[in-house]
Symmetry: C2
Subunit: 140 residues, 2 copies
DNA sequence: ATAATATCAGATAAAATTATCTGATTAAAA
DNA sequence: TTTTAATCAGATAATTTTATCTGATATTAT
């Protein structure tokens, strides 16, 4: 009953992928995203607000308002969303929670674990949010 | 502010590593472990009780009671403790939280992510809890 | 103007995780 | 036998995460 990223971060990733799949021009409301991704509506709003503040997406108020990507999908990497929501600690911290596992004194699995998280980090840094471009996202 | 494993699981790993480092014969009290690892005392007890129930460690009540490994340290893998506390879902679930990312319909990063978690799983399955045997664990 | 529909901001609630308390039981030592 | 020191079991509390509510503001259409 645990996951690599927080629910907030998972939802954030999904929401941005949704926006990316809609094309950069059209605005999507929080409700539309919520309905299509089965994310609680108000929670969706909150997360989209956070991402707006971070500059990843742009919001527009009013009657035909909504959200869209701030820049081209190919320029937004998955790691940008992770960094904005969960932060990057998970890629730095000791897997067993040892606080002094760093610098001079490293735990016995430190090196191997760093290989794991660096592989994850590399993937998230390479993949941009247009990965779903030709895939019907609402099946997920 | 997230981690791969829950705090409970991190503490559990640390506690079992501590027991392993003490040798299989001697009993350690929850208080001793708590003091040496800076884990809240009562929480330590709870986690040790859980691990006792799972058969990873053995408890002995009474005046000179405490906990020790149920079997030889070399036979207890890190993954056994993870499985007992957090479970193995983290190695199976979609990294972006897509519920239907499985079987026939897989998300675009599914394959790469599985490589990441399988690398982690492999490491945790290979390493047994005697990894700290010649390292002063209280520095961590 | 007014109504409708969206974001936005802040408070609140619910649930899960993390941590603590209390008292019972067990077993050894005095 | 009594005291002491440990686990054990269940309740409770605190904190964090997840989710919801309320009302304000912005923007477009009528």
């Amino acid at each position: 009953m645990s996951s690599f990223f927080s629910k907030k971060c998972e939802y954030g990733l999904q929401a941005v992928l949704y926006l990316a799949a809609q094309g950069k021009s059209s605005l999507c409301s929080a409700e539309e995203i919520s309905n299509n991704l089965n994310i609680p509506k108000e929670f969706t709003s909150k997360i989209l607000q956070d991402l707006t503040e971070k500059g990843i997406i742009i919001s527009r108020k009013g009657r035909v308002g909504g959200f869209k990507l701030a820049i081209d999908a190919s320029q937004i990497k998955l790691i940008d969303i992770v960094a904005a929501i969960d932060g990057l600690d998970i890629f730095k911290n000791c897997v067993m929670g040892f606080h002094n596992c760093n610098g001079n004194q490293k735990c016995p699995v430190h090196k191997e674990w760093m290989e794991v998280v660096e592989k994850a980090y590399r993937m998230l840094s390479q993949r941009s949010v247009d990965i779903f471009n030709n895939i019907p996202l609402d099946h997920f």
